[in-house]
Each structure stands twice: as structure tokens, then as C-alpha cells.
């Protein structure tokens, strides 16, 4: 998968823990961990909306497209 999720970096910048984000967006820690570790297959707009609202950021601040990995066929 050439899309990666940089949730860790954004949480660090905002000084927020995963547990706190979990409580604020109403997504379980287990699911946020799946998202954070890049194991997720898809992200709902509603989840992205809630995360961006709580972290005060844009979707592009969390999701990244890795061109090199895409070129390798990932």
C-alpha cells in the first residue's frame, strides 16, 4: 500500500495521546492502532472528519502518498 498514515506525528505535534483521541472521536483504541500502523484497508469519511476536527488539521496532514512505493508496485 503506497498510502501511509502519519497519525503519530500529528498526535505528537498536538500533544495528544491515542487514548484521548479515541475518546474524542469515538473510535476504539484498537481501531486507531490499526489506522496508525497502516493495517487499515479503508478510512470512512466520518472517521477522517472526526480526526481532522479534533486534531485541527487537513486530511493531507495525516495521509501521505508514497510515490517510490507506488512505483515499486506497493
Amino acid at each position: 500500500m503506497s498510502i501511509s498514515v502519519k497519525l503519530d506525528r500529528m498526535l505528537l505535534e498536538r500533544g495528544m495521546s491515542l487514548t484521548e483521541l479515541s475518546e474524542r472521536v469515538g473510535v476504539t483504541i484498537a481501531n486507531l492502532s490499526i489506522l496508525k500502523t497502516g493495517k487499515a484497508k479503508a478510512v470512512r469519511f466520518s472517521t477522517l472528519d472526526a480526526i481532522c476536527r479534533e486534531l485541527k488539521c487537513q486530511p493531507g496532514d495525516i495521509l501521505f502518498f508514497d510515490e517510490e512505493e507506488a512505483a515499486e508496485g506497493g
Binding site: 484497508k41 479503508a42 470512512r44
Partner: protein, 187 residues
Amino acid sequence: MAAGQFMVQALGKRSIASVLAVLFSIIRIILIISLVVVLVMLSALLLIVLFGAGFSDVRWISRYVTDPWPAEVAELIAHAIRLGVMLYVVNKLLEILATLRARVPFAPENAERFTYVAAALAIGELARYVTVLIGIIIAAAFYGKASELDLEFDLELDVWFAVLVVLVLAAVFREGARLKQEQDLTI
């Protein structure tokens, strides 16, 4: 709505799946007993043959055994194979029913279980043909009256139909498991 209500009754505890699990557990016990009986009969028959006694020498056996011994042995082996396959299939169905009772019908293992069931049915049926055929050939060679034997080389189309249906079910459950995994990994 009605379909949803039916699903509630079909899955979980105290559901149709639970009732089936109880029925299959009883069937499993009956199959085990039947298999043991057939294996004991087969062993007894082989022992008699190995020790050189003809059926006519043993009154209680000659009452039940009318065919030459290779045919009888083949028939018993065919029965044992059929019972063994049925036992295996029932075990797999019980494993599948356990997932239905736990409300996890699209567990990835269920697709494999259905595939194994289809394979067991097909292999069992083929093994039965081979056994019966060998029995007929040996009996015919020994006694030259294969046409008079009770053994029948019948193609059971319903078994092959079941194999195809179970293979389709396996594909359905494989796809269901894939969709469930995708759903589980959608955050």
C-alpha cells in the same frame, strides 16, 4: 425485516444452528458406533478368511453372508469408507455450526471447512467405486459370477451434486470472509 428476524433465529445460542449442532452430535455418536461395528465385522471376516475357514463352515456367518468373501470384504470396506467420510463431514459441520452459534459465520476457516467437506465427499465416493470395482473383479476372478453379486457399481449423482453445491458454498464463504475482513479493517 422478516429476513433479519430469521437471521437472528438462525444464528447464535438457542437458534436453529444450536438445534442442528445437537442433532449432528447425536448423528456423530451413531456414526462412530456404526463405524466400529463395521470395522469389527470386517476384522472378523478377514480373520476367518486368513485362518482358512470358508463361510459355509461358520453357521452364523453363512446365514448372513451370501456372496464370495472378496465381495463381502469390498462391501464392508465401502461401508467403512462411507461412514468415515460421513463422520468427517459431520465433524466439519459441527465446527461450522460452532461459528454460527458464536455469530461469526464468515470466519476464514469456514471456507476451508466447506472445501474439505467437498473434497471428502468426492474422495469418499471415488474410493467407494474403486473398492467395489476391485471387489467385483476379484470375486469374478475367484468365482466367475460377478453378475450375481449384491455389489452394485452405482454412480450416486446426488453425492456429486452435493460436492458441487458445497464447493459453491465454500466460494461464497470465502468471499464473505474477505468482505468481513475488509469491513473489519475499515476504520
